[in-house]
């Protein structure tokens, strides 16, 4: 393992206590809601926030160990930092920003400029070398910030919400760029984000944290297939259904059962992707229909509690079963909008229900 960190930080009533391992060239995404302790983790790794207890070892070198009184300052840690807002030095042009690190390592002015030019070229922004940060687009400044971090040859790259400040159209491009230049470089990378899409697109391993603790870790596929909690499921963009299997039907309570052919009786959890929950509006005149299953597609009626538009899609929060979400096209046929409180008919194809035994984990 390149990075082995036991992070224990206490500050103002918040206690972060988690273990993190990152292999050579591995990208680990730390995923969690605001206030989960993501930034605290990054600051501890960067050396800006000393540990209260625990230990950080990078490439066999102890960076922080309060018990033994070891604390390597940020400027000799070899940790690259890229923030959401990019934080390019506003008084330097792009080239000087990238050359800043090599210069501090004692590289001559001319050589540092050559290194910087090379990195700008590799990230496809050689043409902005003499522009000031405020003249750059979001995507360009993101690339310059990454070039600046990579130009010092860090052992560990720390990315703090690298996509959040970009507009939606830029994100896939930058995501691909990150994957090309971070994933293939052999540098260990810790990516902190609240966006599951970034995490699954970039990371080899996901670490989900909440309240300063690790909730679950695994590959994106593992976590998405077997979320440890409803919250993890929500982060991964899937629905987690929990209930009892009886007679090959998953009983979700309150008279709703879904067919799960071949499943043994007992406690069970199932995952259903948001897009696999099919929702169609019910005419206002029609009476609400009591939940009832059929052997193939199971349909039930419920109300829409929340409507959250995301691009050309909309995520609906359904009243029943509790917490179920559906990802539907933003506009229904005929141009009607989804509204909160409307009655809908929901259905899930049995083939889209992926059952897993909770006791198996």
């Amino acid at each position: 393992m390149n990075l082995v960190a036991d992070v224990d930080v206490r500050l103002d009533g918040f206690h972060e206590d988690l273990h993190l391992e990152v292999g050579e060239g591995e990208v680990v995404a730390v995923l969690g809601p605001n206030g989960a302790g993501k930034t605290t983790l990054l600051r501890a790794l960067a050396g800006v926030r000393p540990l209260t207890a625990g230990r950080i070892v990078l490439g066999g070198r102890v960076l922080d160990d309060p018990e033994r009184g070891v604390l390597v300052p940020p400027d000799s840690r070899s940790c690259g930092l890229v923030f959401q807002e990019h934080l390019l030095f506003p008084h330097l042009d792009a080239l000087a920003n990238v050359a800043f690190g090599p210069r501090r390592q004692g590289v001559s002015r001319a050589d540092a400029a050559a290194v910087a030019r090379d990195w700008l070229g590799r990230l496809g922004v050689a043409d902005v070398a003499y522009k000031r940060p405020r003249q750059l687009s979001g995507g360009e400044s993101q690339r310059v910030a990454l070039a600046r971090a990579l130009a010092v040859g860090p052992r560990l790259l720390l990315l703090d919400e690298p996509m959040a400040a970009l507009d939606v159209s830029q994100r896939p491009v930058v995501r691909r760029m990150l994957r090309d230049h971070v994933g293939g470089s052999g540098i260990s990378c810790v990516l902190v984000t609240h966006d599951p899409l970034d995490a699954t697109a970039l990371a080899d391993t996901l670490v989900l944290i909440d309240g300063g603790r690790v909730v679950q870790r695994g590959t994106p596929a593992q976590v998405a297939r077997r979320p440890a909690s409803r919250w993890v499921a929500q982060m991964m963009g899937v629905n987690l259904l929990t209930g009892q299997v009886r007679d090959q039907r998953l009983d979700l309570g309150a008279a709703l059962t879904l067919p799960v052919p071949g499943a043994p009786d007992g406690e069970a959890r199932a995952v259903v992707a948001l897009r696999d929950v099919v929702v169609s509006p019910v005419e206002p005149a029609a009476r609400p229909v009591a939940p009832q299953g059929t052997p193939r597609a199971t349909r039930w009626s419920t109300r829409v509690l929340t409507v959250q538009p995301i691009g050309d899609r909309t995520v609906l929060g359904l009243e029943y079963p509790v917490g179920l979400q559906a990802d539907v096209p933003a506009e229904r046929a005929g141009g009607h909008r989804w509204v909160e409180g409307m009655t809908v008919r929901a259905s899930v194809d049995p083939g889209d229900i992926e059952l897993f035994d909770s006791s198996a984990d």
């Binding site: 600051r43 960067a46 050396g47 800006v48 300052p73 940020p74 400027d75 000799s76 840690r77 940790c79 690259g80 930092l81 923030f83 807002e85 934080l87 030095f89 506003p90 008084h91 800043f100 690190g101 501090r104 390592q105 940060p133 405020r134 600046r148 971090a149 010092v152 860090p154 720390l158």
Partner: protein, 268 residues
């Protein structure tokens, strides 16, 4: 459309009248000064031995005070903005106290601390023969006392506004604390640094109360421009007016320079 625009343009009378009186109150003394200037003797008034001594002393002392404020105030501003320590609010209160303290009181306080019988002044004199009262060093000390807060307050505010993560990025790129300050922090707060130094210099140049109380009024040694103005007013009013005009011009120059170039040069 034209009607509503016209209605908006005419300010309400109850505000207009006091406003005009206020401007008059502030402007009239300046006008009074300008009409009393005896322009044809201005050059000779400003080059009299008393005036030249005061001018030289004022420049030297105010520049020393500004330099001293930068040397001591800059580190303090950084500590206040970037570190947490016990009693920080007390320290901050102490640094801004001279802004609201009557300068004469400042002078008395300086006398009690650095005077011949002062808590620090006595050992300094007994052991090293250093004396601040009635000396040019005393003028510099008094001016620094009243002017340094301007630098601290301005620079600390700029540091608070600046995102400290720029410094974290700089450190992650291998820059030590001093390199980070020199190459990142200082350039980013440059406009405030210059503004703070200019304000400090202007305040030091105009310092009167603390100086005359603490350092006295000796021509060529402690008599700065404001003191010379005060003394000249008793005898040769023409010289007092000429020196006042000089100080007024300097003040205006600082004001114009701060408004024009330095405030808000670049932001992120």
């Amino acid at each position: 459309m034209g009607g509503s625009a016209r209605r908006r343009r005419r300010p309400p009378l109850p505000l207009l009248v006091p406003g005009v009186v206020a401007v008059g109150l502030l402007a009239l003394p300046v006008v009074g000064l300008l009409v009393r200037v005896s322009w044809w003797t201005l050059a000779s008034d400003l080059t009299s031995p008393v005036a030249l001594d005061a001018l030289r002393l004022s420049l030297v002392c105010s520049l020393w005070a500004t330099g001293l404020s930068l040397l001591l105030g800059l580190p303090l501003a950084w500590l206040l903005a970037r570190t947490e320590f016990r009693g920080k609010s007390v320290v901050r209160a102490i640094t801004v106290l001279p802004l609201v303290l009557p300068p004469v009181v400042g002078g008395v306080a300086l006398l009690l601390a650095f005077g011949r019988d002062g808590i620090l002044g006595r050992p300094l004199f007994d052991w090293f023969g250093i004396q601040f009262t009635f000396s040019t060093a005393g003028v510099v000390l008094a001016e620094t006392f009243v002017a340094m807060p301007f630098l601290i307050v301005t620079v600390e505010a700029a540091l608070q506004v600046m995102d400290a993560r720029f410094e974290e990025v700089s450190a992650s790129l291998g820059a030590g604390r001093w390199a980070t300050f020199r190459l990142v922090t200082a350039p980013m707060i440059w406009s405030s640094l210059v503004a703070g130094a200019a304000l400090t210099w202007a305040r030091a140049l105009g310092e009167f109360g603390a100086t005359i109380t603490f350092a006295g009024n000796i021509q060529g040694r402690t008599q700065t421009l404001p003191l010379a103005v005060y003394l000249a007013l008793e005898g040769d009013e023409r010289v007092a007016v000429a020196l006042s005009l000089l100080l007024l011009v300097v003040s205006l120059a600082v004001l114009v320079a701060l408004r024009g170039r330095w405030l808000g040069a670049w932001r992120t």
